[in-house]
Structure formats: structure tokens, C-alpha cells
């Protein structure tokens, strides 16, 4: 058993957290006190046993590592343009092809289209995730207050009682560094996402509202109302996406 006086300090000693002065005093004490010395040896052994047993106990898969590396940082354009001069002609051609493709596909141009792509990714990620929502509830009266204080705006949720849609829950999502609401709905075996953000000027190209459009096998409808920008994403059909969009619109109007 260690001496009363030092008992409390043995942990700090093995963790290297003693002050220089206390360290010196303990060193002197250890020369004459075998029980404290044995106690410290035991503490140190336990510490290193934990380290051996628990560090790198779980190693991430290569696939997951790639996923994180592609997520962080999300934009690498800055570094690439620094070395882009030799590639300028090829890049010019690529840009021209891309522009033509964008024009031919009649997609909303610029940041709007990029936003839609990102939201489709977010919806797909939610579908693949084991925990797609942070608040799990089919009750709009639970989900709406959950967002309070987490977002700079209120999220109005539709009453789904007479529809085939069910609310699964919600989570806070981020797009271009600002927070928004991510809602997950179920329609039969399919899941649809609705996203709500504060509207931005760069999204003006998306228009105030339109019919659902197809994007990478997902249907997306977007509209803006009362300073908020809404997106509904689903893989069922354009009609379902429009239906959920209408429910969201009437919920916002009702408030």
C-alpha cells in the first residue's frame, strides 16, 4: 500500500502531470519507500497494458478512409488552379463540353446545379446511413420543436395523416457552411428527403418554383418561399416528389 501522502499523486505521476517540484519530492521519497515504488510500477504497467490493448484495436477500412479523404477538404479547386496553366487548352475544351452538356440538359446553371448535385448526394448518404436522422419521430409536433434553437428559422411540417407519406425524422444538415433542416419521409418502400435552408442570392437561377426534374436517377423539386429555399429529393417518381412538395408548401402556408 502506498503512503497516505502520495496516494493521490501516483496517477498524476504515471501520467506525467506532476509539477516539477512534486516530481522531485516524489523521486526522493521513492528512494526509501519500496511500497510506493511498487505501487507506481503497478500503475505504470496498467497504463501501458491499456495502451497496448486498446490503441489501434479498430482499424478503419481503406474504403472508409477514402470516403473521409474525399469529404475533407470538400473543394480542392484552389490548389489545382495553381498548376493549371499547362493544362489550360485541355481545361478549356473540357469546360466547353461541360457547358454544352449543362445547356443541353437544360439544368439550372452554376451554383444552383452544384447545389442540387450536393443535395442528391446528401439524400443518398442518408439512405445509406445506419443513422439517417438525429431525431426519430413520426410526429411533426416532436420534430418541429427539436429544430428550435438549432436553426435560425422555424421548420413547418406537413400533416400527413391522410396521405401515404410518413415522417421518419429530421437532422441538422450543412450546405456551404450554413445550417438547414434535413427531413426524411417514407412513401411505401421508398424514402424521400426534404431540405430547408435560408434562401441565397446564388440560388436565384433555380427559380421560384418548378416541376420536379430528374437528376442522376433522383427527382428533385425546388422552390423558394418566405425567404426559405426548399428542396425535395426522391427516387420514386416525379409525381411523388411533387406531392410531397405540395404538402410542404401547404404546411408553410398554414402557419
Amino acid at each position: 500500500m502506498a503512503c497516505e501522502l502520495w496516494l493521490d499523486k501516483l496517477n498524476a505521476f504515471v501520467d506525467g502531470e506532476l509539477s516539477a517540484e512534486a516530481q522531485r519530492e516524489l523521486d526522493v521519497h521513492l528512494r526509501t519507500c519500496t511500497s510506493c515504488a511498487a505501487e507506481i510500477a503497478g500503475h505504470a504497467q496498467l497504463k501501458s497494458a491499456v495502451k497496448r490493448a486498446a490503441s489501434r484495436r479498430y482499424v478503419p477500412s481503406a474504403e472508409f478512409r477514402r470516403r473521409i479523404e474525399s469529404q475533407v477538404p470538400p473543394r480542392k479547386r484552389g490548389t489545382r488552379t495553381r498548376f493549371a496553366w499547362t493544362w489550360a487548352p485541355a481545361l478549356g475544351l473540357a469546360a466547353a463540353i461541360l457547358l454544352a452538356a449543362v445547356w443541353l440538359a437544360r439544368r439550372p446553371a452554376g451554383t444552383g446545379a452544384a447545389t442540387i448535385g450536393e443535395l442528391v448526394d446528401m439524400h443518398a448518404a442518408a439512405l445509406a446511413s445506419a443513422n439517417p436522422v438525429d431525431v426519430i419521430s413520426t410526429d411533426q409536433h416532436t420534430v418541429k420543436p427539436w429544430f428550435e434553437g438549432k436553426l435560425p428559422f422555424a421548420v413547418d411540417l406537413p400533416d400527413l395523416t391522410k396521405t401515404e407519406f410518413t415522417l421518419l425524422g429530421g437532422r441538422v444538415t450543412y450546405l456551404g457552411q450554413s445550417a438547414g433542416a434535413g427531413l426524411l419521409f417514407q412513401f411505401r418502400k421508398h424514402r424521400l428527403s426534404a431540405f430547408v435552408f435560408q434562401d441565397r442570392s446564388e440560388w436565384r437561377s433555380l427559380g421560384a418554383g418548378s416541376a420536379p426534374e430528374r437528376q442522376a436517377s433522383f427527382w428533385v423539386e425546388t422552390w423558394s418561399a418566405a425567404g426559405l429555399r426548399y428542396f425535395v429529393v426522391g427516387d420514386t417518381s416525379g409525381a411523388n416528389v411533387a406531392q410531397l412538395s405540395n404538402l410542404m408548401k401547404s404546411a408553410a402556408d398554414a402557419e
Partner: protein, 183 residues
Amino acid sequence: MVITSGQVTARSEAFAELALPLFDSLYNFACWLTRDRAEAEDLVQESYAKALAGFSSFETGTNFRAWMFRILRNTFLNSRSGLAATRTIVLADDEAAEAELAQVTEETPETILLEHANQHAVREAMECLPIPLREILLFADVEELSYREIAEALAIPIGTVMSKLARARKALRNQLQGKVMRT
């Protein structure tokens, strides 16, 4: 516009430079918390997203590692299994459960104990600890965070770090002792 996107790029690159080297540690820690690889992946991914989004609020000069671990831990505590884990602890009365776990009946010196307890037994004993004790051992012994960093990560005072760590080690020793005596 060009300047803005340049700044954003520079910032997210600064973030990547700080955050990516922590990937293995964060994943290991997440697995120890959740005990489930799929859940741990979600947890790590979400923590990176949150940290990147909130990187502007990170104060340079403060400890980035502690900040990242704090985000991951809070994300875990707000997740379904995190809530379930903390609820169990609360129901069992945190302090009382820990005290019971840490109650030493007959003390065997670590030297003898660890001779009998192999790596597997230490892992098992760690898994038996309640999350608040398990996480502080991971911080102190595996990540080798300083008491100050642990205090930042857990948002508790340094004095509490010390008493909690002492409790955790006692509880671990007790678990090991139980295992050694059973074998």
C-alpha cells in the same frame, strides 16, 4: 467571389491538414464508444462534417485534438445508442454504479494481476466499464491527452478529470481482478 472561394479552400485545407492525421484515432475511439463499426463510421463521418462546418469557430491556439474529440463525443452522446448508453447510466445512478464497480475487496498488486491477465482480458475489462470511465481511460492512456486536454474534451474541470481517472483505473483493476479470479 474568387477571393471568397480561395479563402474557403485555404480554410478547408488547413482543416484537412489538422484533422486527417486524427482519422485513425477518431475511428478507434468511435469504435470503443459504439462497439459497432457501421455506427462508428457514421459517427466519424458526421464529426468531420460538423467540425469542418464549425471550423471558423475553432480558436487557433487552443487544442485542436481535444476539440475534435469533443465534437465526436458530443455527436455520440446525441446519437441513438449514445442516448441509450447515458440513460442506462443515469438510471443506475452514475456515481453509485461507478462506486460499486470501483469497490476493491481484496487488492492484488498490478504486477501479479497483469501477469495473469493477457491483452484479451484487458480488452474485455475495458468493454465492461461504463462509457464515462472507458472514455477517460482511452483519452489518458491510449490518446495520451494531457489532463488539460481531457478537461477540454469532456468539458469538466481538471480536478474532476483526476478523480474520474482514479475511479476508472480502480474500476478497471477490479474488473481484471474478477476475471483473473474466475479463470
